[in-house]
């Protein structure tokens, strides 16, 4: 099982701040494609991804118990 966190416009579109799903042993890119198929309004290519609070690339493999977060372009400050 993995936890996926949603923020900003992703959270608004999906209507949830997190979900727990059985999607380990796939890459970040595969997870993005999965969510894109469910939420065609969102283009996940523009989002960075963090696993366990560290930025990763699309090739990173997601492991069981990981926390994945999609990071839209940040706008703090």
């Amino acid at each position: 099982m993995i936890t996926v966190l949603f923020f900003a416009e992703i959270r608004d579109v999906i209507g949830l701040d997190r979900i727990v799903i059985k999607k380990d042993q796939i890459t970040v890119l595969q997870l993005k494609r999965y969510f894109e198929s469910k939420y065609p309004l969102l283009s996940f290519d523009q989002f960075m991804t963090a696993i366990n609070e560290s930025f990763v690339t699309d090739e990173e493999m997601i492991k069981d118990q990981d926390t994945v977060a999609f990071i839209p372009p940040v706008s703090g400050g």
Binding site: E9, F55, P73, S75, G76
Partner: protein, 150 residues
């Protein structure tokens, strides 16, 4: 030294974190909610953060500063939640023996915050709202999409 808070930020409290006998200069950056951006009137803002990761990334900025300016000391507090015009969103305080370092490390901090710290700003206008950086655009613009902040 690195905090995400929900309540109003005390500038003095952040500044005191970096005050020390070795310092000859302290620079403080106070980011406030501006009423007008490109002629459009902001009513209020909402900041959302991935809190734990945001604190971690602020700490990484602190590490980067330690490497680039070993004698600088930095403290950063960012607020989240609903903010009104002129409210303080972020305070960055840097102390250093010499002022050049204090200015440079301070400006470096805000630039890096806008690059790597998972915090998002939602603007509320009279005619809509939008997450800044968002491509979907839940609002209409008289002159196209607003560009990224500054």
């Amino acid at each position: 030294m690195f905090k995400i808070v929900h309540d109003p930020i005390s500038v003095e409290e952040v500044t005191n974190l970096v005050s020390r006998r070795e310092a000859g200069a302290i620079t403080v950056f106070i980011g406030t909610v501006r009423e007008l951006t490109k002629g459009k009137r902001t009513l209020s803002l909402e900041y959302q953060a991935y809190d734990t990761m945001a604190v971690k990334m602020l700490g990484q900025i602190g590490e980067e500063i330690k490497n680039k300016w070993p004698d600088a000391l930095v403290a950063i507090t960012h607020r989240t939640g609903k903010l009104e015009i002129a409210d303080i969103a972020v305070v960055i305080a840097v102390s250093a023996p010499h002022r050049k370092t204090a200015y440079e490390a301070n400006e470096y901090s805000i630039e890096r915050i806008k690059q790597i710290v998972p915090i998002w700003k939602k603007e509320f206008w009279e005619d809509g709202t939008m997450w800044i950086g968002d491509q979907l655009g839940h609002a209409e613009y008289p002159e196209g999409s607003p560009s990224k902040e500054e």
